[in-house]
């Protein structure tokens, strides 16, 4: 089935029928879904089959295939989230949803690469959010469908076991690549930076960004053994001489500014896999891509999903489409 937007009554029917669901939608909508085998997160931005859309009146549903019969749903607070990889099923996958800006979000972002079992099991997910007009007024949340709990500072995770003839694999589509510009390193692991080491020289990073007139819609990009990983700019505070990011920068990692992208859709379509899209179980893409590339009303190659405040493929990502596919072994 195609993942898409449904009404409350349609989602409730699926829950009552015993389907295992991943849900994304407005808090008011998710609160009305009966208890069952589902997890959810708040967000009003989606890539639908008809293009990018903003709505609080529908819920985006990812329905897990019927051959998945063994799942567990767990919640993780700040101290427990380091167990997320250990709790995963061997030869399965896990889906995590974390509320934006809470302690679990920050802790996961900074520490996930050092969790026991990091990357040993597929972990995909997203950071839940709110309409940008509601920032500061409403807290992002996640839901455990089993208990119907609304959580604003804990992650919810669905661990799933796959049958022996199936395998899950994560992939990303990142249209940003490293430019040939300055090399940039930071002095600490943090969501913000005062200092940076640019081409080996210590500078104030806010002054560097301002003086160079850097387009902060383009992320910093690190090369992880060939995987391009973004760090998006959140703000440049000229008074505090501080730069804030949507994901932490890590010291010892070398970053470069991204090369400009003139046409997101064209670039995105050129990066998309030519085959196998029908095997994508779940996908999410970044709110910054949605805004900067004006994706409302535009279609991204038939891949649908929530538009999120951060994406997770083993670790926190920014401005990246993240997918999980299930294929036969």
């Amino acid at each position: 089935m195609q993942n898409k937007l449904y009404s409350i009554s349609e989602v409730a029917e699926k829950v009552k029928a015993g389907k295992i669901l991943l849900l994304a939608g407005d808090e008011g909508m998710l609160s009305q879904i009966p208890s069952g085998k589902w997890i959810g997160g708040t967000i009003p931005y989606f890539m639908s089959e008809n293009g990018g859309i903003i709505t609080k009146d529908k819920i985006f549903v990812t329905e897990l295939p019927d051959y998945i019969t063994e799942i567990s749903i767990k919640k993780y607070n700040e101290s427990a989230v380091k167990e997320v990889y250990k709790d995963g099923q061997d030869f399965g996958f896990s889906i995590i949803i974390i509320p934006a800006s809470g302690k679990v979000h920050l802790s996961f972002a900074l520490n996930a690469p050092h969790y026991e079992g990091f990357a040993t099991r597929p972990l995909i997910g997203w950071i839940s959010g709110v309409h940008l007009n509601d920032l500061g007024k409403i807290n992002p949340a996640v839901f455990s469908g089993q208990t119907k709990e609304k959580l604003t500072d804990a992650a919810v995770v669905l661990h799933a076991k796959l049958p022996k003839n199936k395998i899950a694999e994560l992939s990303i589509i990142n249209i940003f690549s490293q430019s040939d510009s300055d090399t940039i390193k930071f002095t600490e692991n943090s969501f913000s930076a005062k200092e940076a080491i640019v081409n080996g020289k210590l500078v104030n990073f806010a002054e560097y960004v301002t003086d160079k007139k850097i387009d902060t819609r383009l992320p910093l990009v690190a090369n992880y053994s060939g995987a391009m990983i973004n760090i998006s700019f959140q703000s440049v505070d000229a008074d505090k001489k501080m730069v804030n990011f949507y994901a932490p920068v890590f010291k010892e990692v070398e970053y470069r500014l991204a090369s400009p992208v003139s046409d997101y859709i064209t670039s995105f379509l050129s990066e998309m896999p030519k085959t196998g899209k029908e095997n994508i179980l779940f996908s999410c893409n970044c709110i910054l891509n949605f805004l900067y590339s004006e994706l409302e009303g535009k279609i991204t190659g038939g891949i649908t999903g929530p538009i999120t405040f951060g994406e997770i493929a083993y670790q926190l990502l920014n401005q990246t489409m993240t997918n999980i596919t299930i294929t036969d072994i």
Binding site: A119, T120, I167, E169, S171, I172, S225, A227, E252
Partner: protein, 86 residues
């Protein structure tokens, strides 16, 4: 392709960046990056042994991944290694 046939020397060369093939598997790439960084920034041979163990555990659980299968094939047949090494 069974990862067991690849000797430890090859994995150690990967972890210490003596060889840098281009891989496909996202999981392999993000884990490898973390392990390479850990070895670079941690003194002593314990870090290398620990990272090698982590890498092997990853391979044990994930060697059936289609993209990782291609990566293992690349390690075995390509780059700086002759077939007699393996």
């Amino acid at each position: 392709m069974d990862y067991i046939i690849i000797p430890d020397k090859v994995w150690l060369d990967l972890l210490t960046e003596k060889i840098k093939p281009e891989f496909q598997s996202l999981a392999f790439r993000v884990l490898l990056s973390r392990l390479i960084l850990e070895i670079k920034t941690t003194k002593g041979s314990d870090a290398t042994s620990k990272c090698l163990r982590e890498l092997k555990e990853f391979l044990r659980l994930n060697s059936n991944l289609p993209s990782l299968q291609k990566d293992l094939q690349k390690i075995v047949t390509g780059y700086t290694y002759k077939s007699s090494t393996i």
